[in-house]
Amino acid sequence: MSLSKRQRTRVIRGSQYALLAVIVVVVALVADWGQLRRAFFDVGIARELFPDILTTALVNTVLYTLLGFGFGLVLGLVLALMRLSSVPPYRWIAVTYIEFFRGVPALLVFIALGFGVPLAFEVALDQYVTVMLSLGLVGAAYMAETIRAGILAVPKGQTEAARSLGMSHGRAMVSIVIPQAFRIVLPPLTNELILLTKDSSLVYLLGLSLGQYELANFGRDALNEYKSLTPILVAGLLYLVITLPLGHLVRRLEARTAKAR
């Protein structure tokens, strides 16, 4: 029996679906649904989480993320410009910074900043400042590389046109190159925002007070209080409430960029 190419494709595709279905069914049969339902879907507990999980936890997650993103964006832009500078020491500093903070887990940065800085400088940093610094320092390393790629993607003729109109190098950067670079890197920067949203869960390391809890920490706390996994599920869903629209935004921005080319 010989199959045509199309028939063969169909058979392979069909067996892939069958395998997937078997795995799902086996997992579904093996799992103890009663236990899971009691652990994760306790509506009574879920109800008790509101409205605090929204007014405190969700708000704090968004706030921490935006603080870290804002600081990281500014620092990332500075690092990108240093990385592209014609002054060698600037380039070395930027490369060292980027390689270091990209290569070290954010968790360690949080611990180092949260406990190291107060020791070193004998200052008690405001919790929000610590969060902004730690998230921003790590985010900046990634964003610097993204922004650098964006600046390099702006055609050389743009700088030449700006310079031949008498603009200084700096003026050409600020008025002509950077605005175009940011349009180019808007989709990857939005991805960066999604990553930071999730990284903001690391602030639990700083030992926050109740009003400073963000989603992950709030969920863990409620987990201990209610001896139920329901808060984890709710917290997870609320992360999706933040990140799914952002993901949608990325796809739209990418589609728009593709059209503009």
Partner: protein, 280 residues
């Protein structure tokens, strides 16, 4: 090398009458020597067209005038300021030199009007009203008053190039450099751009134009410079250089340009650092 200087005769005129003066200009990109000793002068109000095969160094010469390329040696003086001098403020000199590129290089994130106002405001420090007044006048000059709110992507190539000319004019330049301004255009759009350049020439603008448009060179230029292999082979009035060239190389080039069917004959180096840079 023989150089014909029909119209340059005599000692260089006093600073004011000379718009561009180039002496002993050499430019190398690594081991590749693109300009091998260029001497020439553009007088105020003169229209000079530079012609020559690809890779002959004509775009590089133009880009050395406003220092987009740093000359390896030699001097370039623009309107009395030696731009190759040690303490020159190049940004200040460039304000006085309008430049038009082959690939337009309009700022895509700004409207036509903003393309014309941004340098007036950020460089010349004109206030918004004054900048917009100048910008509108120049858009009218190139026949695009109705396009001030359009973004470059919404304009045809010919319209973009005319906006680019208006952008350069909005800085009230003393002279204009054109680097193959019609080479990236569809043939039916070339005419509008040339018409704008022609009217600029009629108004007495000093213009240095690198071009392949022989009819433009012939009708508008006061002088034509033929370059090949990094040197000026021949220069003079258009009816002499284009009409009755003295040199074999000029004749070969003109034969190929005016009769594209003969383009295969006598291949000249077709690549070089000044080669086609079409952005995007």
């Amino acid at each position: 090398m023989t150089t014909d200087r029909a119209t340059t005769g005599g000692a260089p005129a006093a600073g004011e009458a000379t718009a561009i003066e180039v002496t002993g200009l050499h430019k190398s990109f690594g081991a590749l020597e693109v300009l091998k000793g260029i001497d020439f002068t553009v007088r105020r109000g003169e229209v000079v067209c530079v012609i020559g095969p690809s890779g002959s160094g004509k775009s590089t010469l133009l880009r050395c005038v406003n220092l987009l390329e740093e000359p390896t040696s030699g001097t370039v003086t623009v309107a009395g300021t030696e731009v190759t001098g040690p303490d020159v403020d190049i940004d200040r000199v460039r304000r006085r030199i309008g430049m038009v590129f082959q690939s337009f290089n309009l700022f895509p994130h700004l409207t036509a009007l903003e393309n014309l106002t941004i340098a007036q405001r950020r460089v010349l420090r004109r206030d918004r009203a004054a900048a917009e007044r100048t910008a509108r006048a120049n858009l009218a000059r190139v026949g695009l008053s109705d396009k001030e709110r359009s973004y470059p992507a919404q304009l045809s190539g010919g319209q973009q190039q005319r906006v680019a000319i208006a952008r350069a004019l909005s800085m009230d330049p003393e002279l204009m450099l054109f680097d193959e301004p019609t080479s990236a255009l569809d043939p039916e759009l070339v005419g509008d751009v040339l018409a704008v350049m022609r009217s600029l020439a009629d108004e007495g603008m000093t213009m240095l134009v690198v071009t392949h448009e022989m009819s433009f060179a012939r009708e508008v230029a006061d002088r034509v410079v033929f370059m090949d292999g990094g040197v000026i082979v021949e220069e003079g009035p258009p009816d002499r250089v284009v009409g009755a060239p003295q040199h074999e190389r000029t004749r070969t080039f003109l034969a190929r340009v005016l009769d594209p069917a003969a383009a295969e004959v006598g291949e000249v180096a077709d690549t070089g650092p000044e080669g086609k840079r079409v952005d995007r």
